[in-house]
Each structure stands twice: as C-alpha cells, then as structure tokens.
C-alpha cells in the first residue's frame, strides 16, 4: 500500500481518526508520519485524542470550568489537554461540559448503557436499573445455553427483588 500523502513510500502507519462522528483512515509512510508529528513507538497512541482536545479549544466555553482545577487531585485543564488523561473520579464532574463534547466525538454519545454498578447504598432507580440489566443478561445466558451462568444470575436477581 502506497502512502496517501506522498504517493511514493510504502504505508506503514495506519492512522484512524474520528472527527465529528466520521471515521477516516489514512495510510502514511514513516517519513510522512514523522512529518505530521506522529509518534510511531509501540503502545496506544493518544495523538488522536490530543487532536480532539485541541479542537475543543475552539468550542464556545459554556461555563467557567475551562479554567478549573480538580479540587481533589489537582489536575488542571491544561494538563488534561496535554496528556489526555484524567486524574480521579471527581475530574469527570469538574470538567463535565468539555468531557461531554469530547466523549460525543470519540464514542458517538455520552450515555453508558452497559453494566450498572450498584453502590453500597443504592436509590430505588439505581436498583431498578441494575435489576433490568441483570434480567437482560439472564435472558442472554439462557439463550446461549450457559445454564451455570443463568443460575448465578437468577440467584443474584432473587437477592435483589423485594419480598
């Protein structure tokens, strides 16, 4: 495969980007990749993430949280934009509005629909969500004939149901 950029070198770096819900892949040779500032060392590259973060800077600031520093761990917004890493659970509240935009661009949405974690003191709606999730997994287990798992889930559901 030939490099998309210079049409000469053999493409060895395959850059997949998600921008505004569109996924594109470009294929670059070593030189063009280096010219674009891509780090080709092994490991999950987060250059795509920092691209998004750079774009976020142009979005209108809705609240003052862009200057915010997380009160719990001390992470600054600038530090987050540089490394693409958050520092503690509270960061998600501190930088919520910016994170929502970012998550929409990375994942196409912000609402988690998978497993629900029940804290040690659940509200009624938390319990309901969890039960629903467990029932869904029970149905799946039965369907795929994983009866051992189905029995486990059934027992778990029984302990949660009222009465």
């Amino acid at each position: 495969m030939v490099c998309d950029s210079c049409s000469q070198g053999e493409a060895v770096v395959h850059l997949t980007q998600i921008v505004d819900n569109q996924m594109t892949t470009s294929h670059l040779c070593e030189q063009c990749a280096a010219a674009k500032g891509l780090d080709t060392a092994e490991g999950q590259p987060n250059f795509a993430l920092t691209d998004f973060l750079a774009q976020m800077g142009e979005a209108p600031e809705e609240d003052s949280s862009s200057e915010a520093t997380c009160r719990y761990c001390g992470l600054t917004f600038a530090a987050f934009r540089e490394t693409g890493r958050l520092g503690c659970p509270h960061c998600y509240a501190t930088f919520e509005s910016h994170l929502k935009g970012l998550l929409r661009r990375i994942h196409g949405g912000t609402q988690h629909v998978g497993k629900v974690y029940l804290p040690s003191d659940p509200t009624a709606s938390e319990r309901a969500k969890r039960l629903e999730g467990l029932r869904r997994r029970l149905r799946r287990a039965v369907k795929s004939e994983d009866f051992e798992r189905a029995a486990e889930l059934r027992d778990l559901i029984r302990t949660m149901e009222p009465g």
């Binding site: 395959h14 520092g87 998550l103």
Partner: protein, 378 residues
C-alpha cells in the same frame, strides 16, 4: 507495620498465564488468542498521572484484602512489580500479562504496581497501571463470549468488595476518556497470511475501521506488521452494552476468518507451487538456521503456520508454533541460558531453541506432500 511481599518467583505460579498456547480454541489456525480487558478505578483515590504513592498503596491494600473474598481469585498470587527482578518483569511483558505502561519509564515500576495472577483460571488483574484495575482474561482461539463471561464474573465479585468509581451517565470512570463507560477492550489476535499474500489485507482492515473496530500489528514498531499477525479490537467503549461490543467484534472477526480461509484456498488453487515453496523455505530455515533475529523468526513462523493450516507440513503442531512465539523472546532466552545475552548471542540461542523444538516434532519429508488434499497429520 504493613506486611512486606516476599519476592515472587514466577516459576511458583502455575502455568504463568500461558494456557492459551495449547491452541484449543475455535479457529486456532487463524485466531491465536482472545483477550477481554476491563478497566476499573476505585472511589476516593487519584489514578493515572495524579496517583501518588499513598493512593497506589491504598488501592493495592484494598485489592489484597478483597481478593480473599473473591472466588475467581482464590489462591491467586500477587506479584509486586517493584520487588521483582528486571528479567522476570520482561518475561511477564513477553507473555503479554502486563503492559509496558505498568513497568513505567526508565526508573522502573512505581511503588504499588502489581499483577494478580489467578492460579485456577486464565484471569489476571493489573493493579495501578493507567487505571487502578485492569481485569483481563486470555484464552486460546476465538472465544469472546467465554472470555467476556470470565472477566464479567470476576468484575461482579470484585465490585462487591471494592467501591468502584461509577457515574450515572458516563459509566465506569477511567483515566483515559477513550476507555470510559464499559471500560471494555476486547481483542482477538489473528494470523492473516492469505489476505496479505493475495493483497486483500488493506481492504479488509479498512473495512474493520469503518465498523468501529481498530487493528494493530504485533511486535512491530507502531502499526508495522510482523509475521502477518493482527490484533483486532473494539474502538469505542461508551454507548453500547458490553455484550453488544463483544458480539459485534465476534461477528466481524468471523467474517475476516471467512475471507482469510478463502484467500488461503485461492493460494492453493492458483499459486500452489509458489506457496509451497515459500512454506518449505520457511520451514527449512527454521529447521537449520544458526542465527535468527526475532523479527525474522516471526516472518518464518508465519510461513510455517500457514503450511500447518494448509496441511502441507504434517507433524508440526500449532502448539509448538505458539511456544516458539513466546519462548524465543529475549528475556525468556536469557532465563533459559541463565545469563544476559547480547543480540548476536541471543540470535544464536533463539535459532538453537527453534532447531531443538522442531527436531522433537520429527522431520517433515518434503518429498512426501500430498499433491492434492490433506496429508496425514502425525
């Protein structure tokens, strides 16, 4: 005063995470292994770049305590990375049980980083890497539902003993936003020489990226591919259920398996002589070479693996080929030799190990290939 870890001796750990070598799973001729990993963090402590020593140690203490009440981790071993010698750390890395991130930068693993290895199941937990916990299952062949189920059960039990950081909208909270929500990264390691040789690989991989999957080469620098091995995994983690993510990957991987099988048949049908030649040359070099770099080994292994799959090399087992991938890495060679090995010596040791392993399998008689369908598999 806190109890200190004895330094863990890897040989004390049963099978040290290598049960997947036995090639017992589905489609073992195309899929080497399946891995499902879950990222979790605990409430009340910083993680990733903001975690300090006391955060990490507190997390590790909680994990040590919790694991005694978690059935899948019954009898598990806690390997303290900082206390472990350098070569053993590299061995864990070479077995893909830990990541480079866990080992930290030049100054070594941070205090509090650890690996919990189950003695009973192919399950492990990395502690204090980018996230507090990285639960992981690793199985032979294509077994996504099973790998997910294993890790899901572990997660349920651990979650009852530990206070996970969970958000009503964003789901399980992680250090990197690319992991938030389900925290699931499911991946499958595939061998695709057919698609590479028939030059269809680009199209297939591009197709994967268009359906929310991502791929990377194995062992090479960046996305370079060595040995025609590709790791395919889900890209997004938020907005779909864990089962949907896993099912989707499974479905797409099965399509790729079909394409690869077809490509291999095309090679046999339209380019038999050339294909046999490549395979036999690869086998010959592995059988007789005196020095082998790891990269060359991987490329030759690819040819021999293809040969085994096409039944052109009866008597060479996939299990042996899997072993050759793991035990020929540099830290493994050094452990076997009992000393450090500079590159050229390492290359010689590698070649010697390969010759020995293949000699045990018995010689393949190149004049005795079936000129049509399957030969006998010895």
């Amino acid at each position: 005063m806190k109890e200190r870890d004895p330094m863990e001796d890897l040989t004390a750990v049963p099978d040290s995470g290598l049960s997947w070598l036995d090639a017992s799973g589905d489609h073992a001729d195309i899929v080497l292994s399946t891995r499902v990993r879950l990222a979790r963090n605990l409430q009340g402590h910083a993680f990733g770049p903001r975690a300090r020593v006391n955060d990490r140690e507190a997390v590790l203490d909680q994990v040590r305590d919790a694991k005694t009440r978690v059935v899948p981790l019954d009898g598990s071993t806690v390997v303290n990375l900082q206390a472990l010698d350098t070569r053993s750390r590299r061995i864990l890395l070479e077995r893909r049980l830990i990541s480079r991130e866990l080992l930290g930068d030049g100054s070594g693993p941070a205090r509090g980083t650890a690996l919990v290895l189950s003695g009973l199941q192919p399950l492990s937990v990395m502690v204090n890497e980018e996230d507090h916990l990285r639960l992981q299952s690793l199985l032979a062949g294509l077994r996504l539902q099973e790998a997910w189920s294993l890790v899901d059960r572990l997660d349920d039990e651990l979650g009852q003993q530990l206070p996970y950081a969970f958000h009503h909208e964003f789901g399980f909270l992680t250090s990197c936003p690319t992991n938030v929500g389900t925290g699931v990264r499911a991946s499958v390691l595939m061998h695709l020489p057919g698609l590479v040789l028939t030059k269809e690989i680009g199209k297939v991989l591009q197709g994967l990226t268009q359906v929310g999957l991502t791929f990377r080469g194995l062992y090479g620098e960046g996305s370079e591919v060595v040995g025609n091995f590709f790791q395919v995994s889900n890209q997004t983690t938020l907005g779909k259920s864990e089962e949907d993510l896993v099912d989707h990957l499974d479905k797409m991987v099965r399509r790729v398996i079909q394409f690869e099988s077809h490509a291999r048949q095309v090679l046999l049908r339209d380019a038999r002589a050339v294909t046999e030649d490549k395979i036999c040359r690869a086998y010959g070099l592995l059988r007789y070479a005196r020095t082998l770099s790891f990269e060359e080994l991987m490329n030759l292994l690819s040819g021999v693996r293809l040969g085994t799959s096409l039944k052109l090399l009866p008597g060479v087992r996939v299990y042996t080929l899997n072993k050759l991938m793991i035990f020929t890495q540099s830290a493994h060679l050094e452990q076997a030799a009992g000393q450090d090995l500079p590159t050229h010596e390492g290359d010689a040791h590698r070649a010697a190990y390969v010759r020995r392993m293949l000699a045990i399998e018995g010689d393949v008689d190149p004049e005795n290939f079936a000129s049509g369908a399957a030969g006998d598999v010895a």
